[in-house]
């Protein structure tokens, strides 16, 4: 069992699968996330794959402030993900609400609704920043794994 766990963690660290969810963003962070997946940046070379369903994903990449309508859907998507799961907030809006802070229909950052593991600020966060954030998350996972071993 211990060996199996080690295998799963190894696979997770080497190839984290992500799901991208737009929680009310203006598209800017979303196009930058997709730009990170296309030839210039090609985040897939780190084993990072974009998945369509939360059930296949290890990392939930959120962009945008959480609007009231999205809140329950975001929680539902988060709950559908298998443990252990991580949330990355991309963009200033996802970190704190950004320019939309104080709007009557905006709840605030993603962390006001679900726990967040990594924050990537920027308006929008450029692909380099997104890659850096994801690599940092993976490194912290590796370290946590070494510690527990």
């Amino acid at each position: 069992m211990a060996f199996l766990n080690k295998m799963v963690t190894w696979a997770r660290v080497k190839s984290p699968w992500i799901i991208h969810f737009n929680s009310g963003a203006c598209n800017a962070c979303d196009i930058e996330i997709i730009a990170a997946l296309t030839p210039r940046y090609d985040i897939e070379r780190f084993g990072i794959l974009l998945k369509a369903t939360p059930r296949h994903a290890d990392v939930l990449v959120c962009s945008g402030p959480v609007t009231r309508q999205i809140r329950s859907r975001l929680i539902r998507i988060y709950e559908q993900m298998a443990e252990p799961k991580f949330v990355v907030a991309v963009g200033t809006c996802a970190c704190s609400g950004g320019v939309f802070k104080g709007c009557y229909n905006v709840m605030g950052g993603v962390d006001s609704v679900i726990p967040v593991s990594a924050f990537i600020p920027g308006c929008p966060a450029c692909p380099e920043a997104i890659m850096d954030g994801v690599v940092k998350l993976i490194t912290s996972l590796e370290k946590a794994e070494e510690k527990s071993a």
């Binding site: 196009i31 730009a35 210039r40 974009l50 369903t53």
Partner: protein, 406 residues
């Protein structure tokens, strides 16, 4: 089998107007479709009233990240009209340069998404790689890849240097060269034409009746373009063609967009060549005198309209935004009528809503008799549409020969 109701959305949040589509199916044929909008409401118009004019520029820029320059320029045109500000010519030229670069980036983005939706992923990777050239130019000119923050009340914030002009011109040549290849693909590649023609037809009369805007309307033979009909910024000084098409279908929309890319390159060259010397902004008052104005702007997706009412303070009394997708989303219902379930991905994508949302669009198939619900996500629906065309129409994107030049 009886009629089946399929609700799509509202998990479609990246759109400026996230939509929910209720589709009634008879077998595979779409009988009816109802569009609902208003899910991703953040309350921007109300927030504008609580912020100053300068703050509003940056807030409205974030209505949409793809056409951010559109919204800030459109808003400022209204504000400057109320304040009776006369902008220097150089400011108008700089605004137009960024506007046309934005159109290039938006159309290249769309081309990739359209390719992805029909299963032609090579096109997605090609056009997104070329799009990075535009992003480089934009970040060089404005300091940011997206959400440029180029505009301010009374002009622009950054000037362009002769060195930058020298750097941009050869890059535009590269883009033009690649766009020629895309035009060749769209107009000569049999597989792509088979897949796109007669899909999502919108007749000239329907386009008029439903108030479609931008490339969607122009592909149905409607000869409208705010840039020519009601010139703003520096468009009055430019010579360009308004691209229209009479295919009335998704192929027409593709041809209009790639055609517009060529016109945009032409315009960028004219602008860079003829840009007048002078200041880039005039001093604007903090408080704007009372008055109201309506401003029009040809966004990459169609006509964008902003209405601003000022009451003499440093904050507007009312701001109203009508983004072009709102005008086009009703037309989707008409396009899909009597179409097939397999055509939904490309037809919805053809009006150019945001693509990043489409992966999370959920389709729930509800059998009216058994009341059992099957959920299909967008990816499955897309795969279904690719397979359906392969089996029933013999359209196979993997057979397309890719140019080995790049």
């Amino acid at each position: 089998m009886g009629k089946v109701m399929i609700p799509i959305g509202p998990q479609h949040p990246a759109l400026k107007e996230p939509a929910s589509f209720n589709i009634t199916l008879d077998g595979e044929k779409i009988l009816d479709m109802i569009v609902k909008v208003g899910y991703n409401h953040r309350g921007i118009e109300k927030a504008c009233e609580q912020r100053t004019y300068i703050q509003d520029i940056y807030l409205l820029e974030r209505v949409c990240g793809i056409c951010s320059h559109t919204h800030s320029t459109c808003f400022l045109q209204a504000v400057e009209e109320i304040a009776a500000l006369e902008l220097p010519k150089r400011a108008h030229y700089l605004r137009t340069i960024v506007a046309e670069l934005e159109r290039v980036h938006s159309h290249l983005l769309w081309l990739g998404v359209a390719g992805h939706e029909v299963g032609f992923d090579t096109l997605l990777m090609y056009s997104w790689r070329d799009r990075e050239i535009v992003m480089d130019i934009l970040s060089m000119l404005t300091g940011n890849r997206v959400n440029y923050a180029m505009n301010t009340v009374g002009g622009v914030r950054r000037d362009i240097s002769p060195d930058q002009i020298k750097t941009i011109l050869p890059l535009v040549d590269i883009l033009e060269e690649r766009t020629k290849y895309y035009i060749q693909v769209a107009s000569e590649e049999v597989t792509l034409i088979e897949r796109l023609s007669k899909v999502g037809t919108l007749s000239h009369d329907d386009a008029l009746k439903l108030g479609a805007a931008g490339p969607t309307a122009r592909a149905s033979g409607r000869d409208i373009d705010v840039r020519r009909d009601d010139p703003y910024a520096a468009y009055a000084d430019l010579s360009f063609k308004v691209i229209t098409d009479n295919h009335n279908d998704v192929l027409g929309r593709t041809l209009v967009r790639v055609g517009e890319l060529m016109e945009s390159y032409k315009m960028i060259r004219q602008l860079l060549k003829n840009i007048p010397e002078g200041p880039i902004a005039v001093k604007a008052p903090r408080k704007i005198q009372a008055g109201e104005a309506l401003s029009r702007y040809e966004a990459p997706r169609g006509e964008d309209v902003h209405y601003v009412k000022a009451n003499g303070t440093d904050r507007p009394e009312r701001v109203k935004v009508r983004a072009p997708t709102l005008a086009n989303v009703q037309a989707v219902a008409a396009m899909l009528k009597n179409g097939y379930l397999a055509d939904i991905p490309i037809v919805v994508a053809a009006i150019d809503p945001c693509f990043s949302c489409t992966d999370r669009m959920m389709v729930s198939m509800k059998d009216a008799n058994s009341r059992k619900e099957n959920f299909i996500d967008w990816k499955t629906l897309r795969q279904y549409s690719i397979d359906w065309y392969k089996q029933n129409r013999g359209v196979d994107m993997s057979k397309i020969k890719i140019s080995k030049r790049w």
